[in-house]
Symmetry: C2
């Protein structure tokens, strides 16, 4: 199924999106597929569909404890670094705009850097100085960073449009993956994503 | 790691527990492990830990839609039958007592029959006549069924004790699996269960 696309919806605010971001290109490449990176405003999506903006804050204590441990289980499962950040939840709108302002070609690389900054290096993605530093590290010029931080109305609108696209696709959380119109939510669904890339079709009717 | 145990906490009320029930013995057997079947009152556990008793009823519409489809995705993934029942949620306390009254040896077989009756055959597990029929089909005698339906105080107490055991183990939903003290929640964590049976250890501290 070479030439296939996986659309990957994410927000840097989600630890599971970070975990998914470390795997999706490997999964896609194994099937000759390309990943379409789609940053979105997860908080705005939650508001639009009527879900608590910080779901974990609404969980019962044993459930919160389980999910916390679960993140570390998966990080070890995938053999990737993971740290619970000192700031959570995080306001990621500027970081998402920065990823978009970087342009289609730099988007994956800059997204990985921003995910890593928050979920491994415990950096503050809401801090303009931190974002400028990270952007410089990724070779982005000052004008690009300014477009993200002003924000440039085009960048602002583009992020809203991607969020609306996610809502229209039925996305209800992050990370979400779409393959041939099939939606999968969660990095714990990557095996379903992989099978679908290999030609498997989930049931169309149910 | 032969001789190892997997403790499997479940309630017939959960579609994901049904899906997990179709796989856990295969996963365990592949590593020479035994499955300890542990029926529990999921509603009582939810009440005790402060979770909505029918979580799906509290979900935003796109999230409910996603989970509904997700169940059929997994059913096809595992190649097992699955039907959304005409009665949901289901009061399963009598069915759980029946499984327990059947005794340790018959427990797995009777549990599979009850899961299948609800999640494949759309039977009413709250109906005494249906339970008597299912019990007869599994070769249980009348006295056993009576102990479940009266209920016999011992059977009643045993089910409460297993529910308390699950709560103490940190269980926050069904299905849950415990291997060497490591808790995993969800049939989408079976790969973690399998790796743990193969000797892998999830991180102890985080």
């Amino acid at each position: 199924m070479s030439g296939e696309d996986v659309t990957f919806y994410y927000d840097f605010s989600s630890p599971y999106a970070y975990l998914g971001s470390t795997q999706i290109e490997r999964v896609a490449a194994a099937h000759g597929a390309r990943v379409r990176f789609r940053p979105m405003l997860l908080g705005a999506l939650f508001k639009a569909i009527g879900t608590p903006v910080v779901p974990m804050a609404t969980f019962a204590e044993p459930k919160r404890r389980y999910y916390h441990r679960d993140l570390f289980d998966w990080a070890r499962y995938w053999s990737v670094d993971f740290r619970w950040p000192s700031r959570f939840p995080m306001r990621t709108v500027a970081a998402l705009r920065l990823a978009l302002a970087a342009g289609e070609e730099a988007l994956p690389r800059v997204s990985h850097a921003l995910f890593r900054a928050y979920w491994v290096e415990d950096r503050d993605l809401a801090d303009e100085g931190v974002l400028r530093q990270l952007a410089a590290g990724e070779g982005l010029d000052q004008a690009t960073v300014d477009r993200a931080l002003l924000p440039d109305p085009q960048v602002k609108t583009a992020l809203i449009a991607l969020t609306d696209e996610a809502i229209a696709a039925g996305v209800c959380g992050a990370p979400s993956f779409v393959v041939r119109g099939h939606l999968f939510w969660g990095q714990d669904r990557l095996d379903l994503v992989e099978r679908t890339l290999a030609g498997w079709d989930p049931p169309a009717t149910f």
